[in-house]
Subunit: 330 residues, 4 copies
């Protein structure tokens, strides 16, 4: 058993990490960290009652280094790199769920804030297993991808060499509200979301540079929407091909060895991947116009279960050890 | 007061027609027709109790012609043209909510079925007031547009001359479930729709030829989705411009005289137009990439209230007489 | 036309008042008041764009008294009585949507806070038209009932003399989230409400004393729940009868002259009354056990449309003048 | 490993059985039965793709008896007893999820239909582990309780000796739509359920006799409601006590040794138990009035996970072996 810590247990992704790791056969949670002390984790998450107990500490890197080999950081950007820097220097491996180590320095500082840990930024591996599996296995610091980039990149990767580069990739993404986190705001108010749907940050969302950088495509229009659902995400991409192809055949070939990508012959839906680490993909073309539809659970494949897949790889375990596969359907 | 009939009162659009017409200052409902007799309309729609009463008859064109100047047909395609033909020959004006008179003969027969009323097909006017207001005023037969085409066309019209025609228009449309009608099926089952979202008929939906024909654009990718909401629709279009523009200025100028198009400076949402005949539009560009987001109530602007606007115009009334404007928000 | 003011336009009930009054044939909105100035009401409620315009002022009683005969106060308790006192002294009639004038002094001060306008408290009329229609017609100050009390009382009134008083009335109430208002909190967060249901303040909710006092029944258990819907309310009451009766016959007789109470022979649902001022009631008994189910729109019959009914009565108009009757179904 | 069969795999409870059993450490699924053959279970449930495969056979008792020690019957009542009779005679143990073996003969035939397997009816054990754990361990036939009875009985059991029997128990139950099964009908149509809530079969629902018989209380009013959610159930009971008590203390003492009953000090919600076999209970009293609120997952604790708990007990395993405990929250 490998001892691990979770920092940032009060949010949604922290909860999902606890759920996965508490029933994982090889990881042993030894530390729960938050911004303050709590008597019990079930004071924060009452649904953990009878399932997992443990007190929560105001997170401290030194304390963590005494009890954990690897730490999951489920923190906002900026806060995350403070901890990561200290933990790495203390010899603790890190899977960081924030944006802090995902981007090149100049991209990061343009869209987020000044970076305070440039040293480790250079060593970080982008934790999308289908792209960087071998690098992840050797990494001490893995930058877990954003939810939108995960779904978008997995949908587009197989078609990178087939697309007509004279035209942009248009991405219409739809996310459940849990992506906005646990804090209350106008856009998480039930009356705003229910029986409604709208785009936000059209063409300007901060996940756009992450998608561009990892795919190496500059000409992208990315528009996220909020759906009246709690979890899950559908990312639909529209692009032009150089010539006519069979998109399902391309997908099946590209992902033939991947355990967590499922290719469907009918349009994918959000719910079939909810509760799981699967990335479900459908594609269809008409002439040279290609439509790709990708579904993931934003909190799992888009955050916490992908983080544990990365930890599995970093620790030499099978990629799918203890990873959720049973969808919430119905 | 002008006497009017509604045929097809048992469905959702039939109900909406009753709701609008029963409180309209100049139309007087004299006939409710369905596929069979009912003692009272509130047997079919209990929410009409205390609001509107009247018995429902198995629809008969001759009976209608004795009591109505104008008839709204809220029927499936094919059934509709049977009634329309008879009614027109009996001198009754018709607003047809089906697809039967919307398309050129060859387009119709390719996507639907053989046409049995070619004569009137040639005389029908496409009932999108912002495109054909003057023709509608003189028409005896108005083909009320489909919900998706209404929203799509109104969003794209102002940009037709500005777009780069080498690139297709990509349309990602999202609709509430009421668009699928009142009958039960796998895709109207609560457990299928709730906490879910998926595309259907991607690139092959029957509203695509309607959009293409009315806009005069062949190169269109149209993908509809079902949202976990009952009513309302968001249609997002992505296209390339010939040169950089201010899309909000274009919209405001184009629609400056229209009562039922609202231009918003922030992304539109579905709920603000729900319950109304408004078409709400937002647009933003980045370089030559243009994103247009359009919201309508699929049952009102996409069907029944637009039908009454058309009837207003056909009868010489003000376009907005008795037309709903108050959104369901919150 | 009678000039009226609305104070508290930024909340949900303020919005509903604007929607009703802006299309009312005899009331003319001359003043919109809030806690601060706004250039335009559609800055607060974008869905009013193209429907109703007007600037919003930091509410001031003297200013109001110059332009309005009657004022609707859509404010929190405590804030409301400050304005009501001043307005009444300036000769302006008041319909108060808060709890400030609903209860006897001692009850109010026990459950809310010290009362600062005891003088007018004695003159106020409880604005449930089915109970106090004649008093409302003569009133200068009407205390609009709470949403839960409205539905509960209308369901129980016809059975008051028939119940076995040795046993309590058990009330299981279910409300949409809009009842919690527009402000963001843990219990309005989408992820907390969606796919969920729970009781809150069981046996201790502040609407309980209002129900007890108006019905003159002390032995009541009242438990409200939050439903994953935005608007509407279902209140289910369970009680014992002195002897077996036909509850539907009792209801029909009791409400035979009321325009806004509908008796259904099948269980009522929330949606059929949503968007309207109707109170829909169903009841069934088995032996001496009686079950009563009542549905209202919490923001309309439970607040704003009932307020306008009261204003109609206070101004000598027909009760149903300009009052919404068309449900949101589907 | 013990070989087991599932008959009725196409419905919701069949799917849940597959999900639990496919990851159970001691049960091995050897047979999937339905009303017809299917090439693959993922043709029926696409979300099983990549998780569990196997072909589906038109169910046949003899075939089952060759490959399974125990069979789960996830069939409608009446169909179920046909299979159970044959399987039991062939020596196969049965956990029956239908109503067929839950009730005394006369009760069953009054509310359902003539019974065709009276012999085994006498030997069946009612599969509520908190009531009949020792009997279940020795049983060959376990009748898995209904969802409403499970939640209702677990809430009321600890208070049976404390209640004032002169007053009835009033039960207001609220269920997600999945309880109505996978088939399409008016009450599973999205537009009927969404933004709505209503009672159905008030005072006459078929789960009432099951509750009465197991609790030994005749004087019960039971009213179920449909909630706009897919899964989960809240059952609220109202009753009178003989004297004042501390209900939480009663609950904690009564269930102190139970692994799958959680007592909460704040009102329980549906979502915290969704995805799990937990039964969450809260209670509060005011004087002698007692309110009990119980939450379960209708498809798990109310059907499939409780069935596997019963199978665990029947086969000598620990009650909680392989039973889901991680809630779907958020």
């Amino acid at each position: 058993m490998i001892d691990v810590a979770i920092v940032g247990v009060s949010g949604f992704t922290g909860l999902e990490l606890i759920k996965i790791l508490s029933s994982h056969p090889e990881f042993n949670i030894t530390y729960l960290g938050a911004s303050e002390d709590y008597e019990s984790i079930s004071d924060i998450h009452p649904s953990l009652k009878g399932v997992f107990s443990g007190n929560v500490k105001k997170a401290d890197s030194k304390d963590i280094s005494k009890v954990a080999i690897l730490t999951f950081l489920a923190l906002p950007h900026k806060a995350s790199m403070g901890f990561a820097k200290e933990l790495l220097e203390l010899g603790v491996k890190v899977v960081d769920l924030s944006a802090d180590y995902r981007l090149k320095l100049e991209t990061y500082e343009k869209y987020y804030c000044p970076h305070i840990d440039k040293e480790h930024l250079n060593q970080s591996v982008y934790g999308l297993p289908e792209m960087f599996k071998e690098d992840i296995k050797k990494a001490s610091l893995v930058a877990n991808p954003g939810c939108y980039p995960t779904a978008t990149i997995l949908g587009l990767l197989p078609f990178l060499n087939l697309r007509d580069e004279r035209f942009p990739v248009m991405i219409d993404a739809k996310s459940g509200v849990s992506g906005a986190g646990k804090k209350c705001s106008e856009t998480t108010h039930y009356a705003k979301i229910n029986e409604n749907c709208f785009s936000y940050a059209p063409l300007t969302h901060r996940h756009t540079p992450e998608i561009k950088e990892k795919l190496g495509i500059e000409d992208i229009a990315f528009v996220p929407h909020l759906l009246p659902i709690t979890r899950g995400m559908l990312v639909d991409s529209y692009l032009l091909l150089k010539e006519e192809i069979d998109p399902l055949a391309v997908l099946k070939e590209y992902y033939k060895d991947e355990k967590f990508v499922r290719i469907y012959e009918k349009p994918v839906d959000i719910k079939s991947s909810s509760g799981t680490n699967f990335c479900d993909i459908f594609a269809i073309s008409e002439g040279k116009k290609l439509f790709i539809s990708v579904s993931i659970d934003n909190l799992l494949r888009g955050a916490s279960s992908q983080a544990v897949v990365n930890a599995n790889l970093m620790c030499g375990f099978s990629e799918d050890l203890g990873i959720p596969k049973l969808s919430y359907i119905p």
